[in-house]
């Protein structure tokens, strides 16, 4: 059980961690992918009989945000290395999966991914405007940024958590600020890119670009105000419907 052997096993866990959602099922969710990733550590540390006894205790559903599963896998590996009781490990796994999923969904899915998509939408808008070469560089930059942050938390999170033997993740003010910045900057990017795409697309038609552009901006601002001050679903719907009917009437006339 040398250090080189352990490092090799941990690298295998990290590789397998990428397919934690494999065989996702309604009954067990990510259980198969999770066990598939952690099995090399069991094989490294225990004999066949003990491995069997321990793994059968792990047989209950598991589900978290796929990027955040690395923290749980790292703690699991560390606890196995310290020869902790399997019941304690299962308890750790079950208590961490929901809070980490909540943080991961909010940060990665709602904010970082939205930022990437807004950035790429703007790049595509620029492609429509004719900057062919730069847009693919921009797409690559967007993907590189997303995956840098993704790997920082996914791979780096595994490494740091395993090294310290505790959850190496802090929900600090700095993190919250980063999340909020991504959220609002993505909204701005969407507005700019959508206007660019629409203005180019409407040039292909016989309708004046400026009219459509102003209608679009009007809807953006008006919908935002309705949402902000009235805060009712039916109000937004009725407002959109009324303007749509007006536009149709105007179009027919």
């Amino acid at each position: 059980m040398g250090k080189i052997g352990l490092n090799r096993v941990l690298k295998k866990v990290v590789r397998r961690m990428l397919s934690v959602q494999n065989l996702w099922s309604y009954k067990y969710m990510q259980l198969y992918g999770y066990l598939y990733a952690i099995i090399p550590v069991y094989r490294f540390l225990f004999g066949k009989e003990e491995m069997k006894q321990r793994l059968i205790k792990e047989w209950s559903y598991f589900n978290t945000q796929p990027y955040m599963s690395s923290y749980i896998l790292a703690l699991h590996s560390k606890m196995l290395l310290l020869n902790e009781d399997e019941a304690k490990i299962v308890s750790m796994r079950n208590s961490l999966m929901a809070p980490l999923a909540s943080i991961g969904d909010s940060f990665f899915w709602f904010n970082l991914r939205t930022f990437l998509i807004a950035f790429c939408t703007l790049s595509v808008a620029l492609l429509v405007e004719g900057f062919k070469g730069t847009v693919f560089v921009a797409l690559a930059i967007g993907l590189a940024f997303f995956n840098y942050v993704h790997f920082y938390y996914r791979m780096g999170g595994f490494k740091r958590t395993f090294r310290h033997g505790r959850l190496a993740f802090k929900f600090t003010k700095k993190f919250y600020f980063f999340e909020k910045t991504l959220n609002y900057s993505s909204y701005l990017l969407f507005v700019v890119s959508f206007s660019l795409v629409l203005s180019k697309v409407f040039e292909m038609t016989d309708v004046k670009t400026s009219i459509w552009f102003y209608i679009f901006i009007f809807f953006m601002i008006a919908d935002y105000l309705v949402i902000k001050y009235i805060r009712r679903e039916w109000a937004v719907f009725l407002f959109n419907l009324a303007v749509a009917v007006l536009l149709v009437t105007w179009g027919i006339i």
Binding site: L23, S25, M29, K52, C120, L127, F136, F216, G251
Partner: protein
């Protein structure tokens, strides 16, 4: 066309794996892979500019439509990979049939093909649900290998996850394409000239914009939002008095959204 279809079916299968099973590096987002496909098609097959704009606009609209369909827990997620690939192959097929995009028919064709692509993604989600149910049996079955100490065999079950998911997406794109080919004459005849239909397009876009604005500011419940574009489309098609296919398509979309809403409410 068969070679193109096979290539896009292969891409569809691989991207679906990247989207759900392995990695999640965001290569499978429509805003990433459709522009890349456009670039390749432009370099190697000299795709005309109007088809390029068409696909890029389609990529933006699809991306925004699926932006908040998140794979959280057991949520019901439409298949955006299949949807994007279907949009590309459908357009390439229509191009081969002699379809030309011009100032009069671009809005109609865009809304028609996007509606079909969105329908495909929702139908495909039901096959995903079936596969996830089947996976429950497969994982349950693999438990016996742990009990008998055959850990190598337990690990070898992993490959079935990849094979099944790849095949499901590969076969589906083929099937939806051939369904579209069956109705291609009707589709081409319904893409009629008439610039007043551009109005439908702008309302369609406004629906998406409203959806995004609502989602970003999170003032309303996420699950209620996709219904607006569908409702607006239905009202507009009824008001415009255009072809019955439009009404049929919008009603179908509306039903799909209602089912989605129902599931969203049930899932809490």
């Amino acid at each position: 066309m068969m070679i193109t279809l096979t290539v896009f079916s292969l891409i569809s299968g691989l991207l679906a794996i990247e989207n759900l099973i392995w990695g999640q590096f965001m290569l499978s987002r429509p805003i990433i892979f459709i522009p890349l496909a456009v670039l390749i098609l432009t370099i190697f097959f000299d795709l005309p500019p109007e088809f390029r704009y068409f696909l890029l606009t389609g990529a933006v609209v699809l991306e925004l439509f699926y932006l908040f369909s998140l794979p959280i827990g057991s949520s019901y997620v439409p298949n955006q990979v299949l949807s994007g690939n279907f949009l590309i192959v459908a357009l390439l097929f229509l191009k081969k049939q002699g379809f030309v995009i011009n100032g009069n028919n671009w809005a109609t064709s865009l809304v028609l093909l996007l509606s079909l692509a969105i329908l495909v993604s929702f139908v495909s989600a039901y096959f995903d649900i079936l596969l996830r149910k089947f996976n429950s049996y497969l994982v349950e079955y693999s438990k016996r290998y742990i009990l008998s100490g055959e850990f190598k065999t337990f690990e070898s079950v992993a490959k079935w996850g990849f094979i099944l998911f790849f095949s499901l997406n590969f076969i589906q794109l083929y099937s939806y394409f051939f369904l579209m080919v069956l109705f291609s004459k009707q589709i081409l005849s319904f893409i009629e000239p008439g610039s007043e239909l551009n109005l439908i397009f702008i309302i369609f876009i406004v629906g998406f914009v409203a959806k995004i604005a609502l989602n970003i500011f999170r003032k309303l419940r996420r699950n209620d939002l996709p219904i607006y574009p569908a409702l607006l489309l239905i009202i507009l098609t009824l008001l415009s008095g255009i072809s019955p296919l439009w009404n049929l398509l919008t009603v179908l979309l509306f039903i799909v959204f209602l089912i989605k809403e129902g599931k969203g409410v049930r899932n809490g």
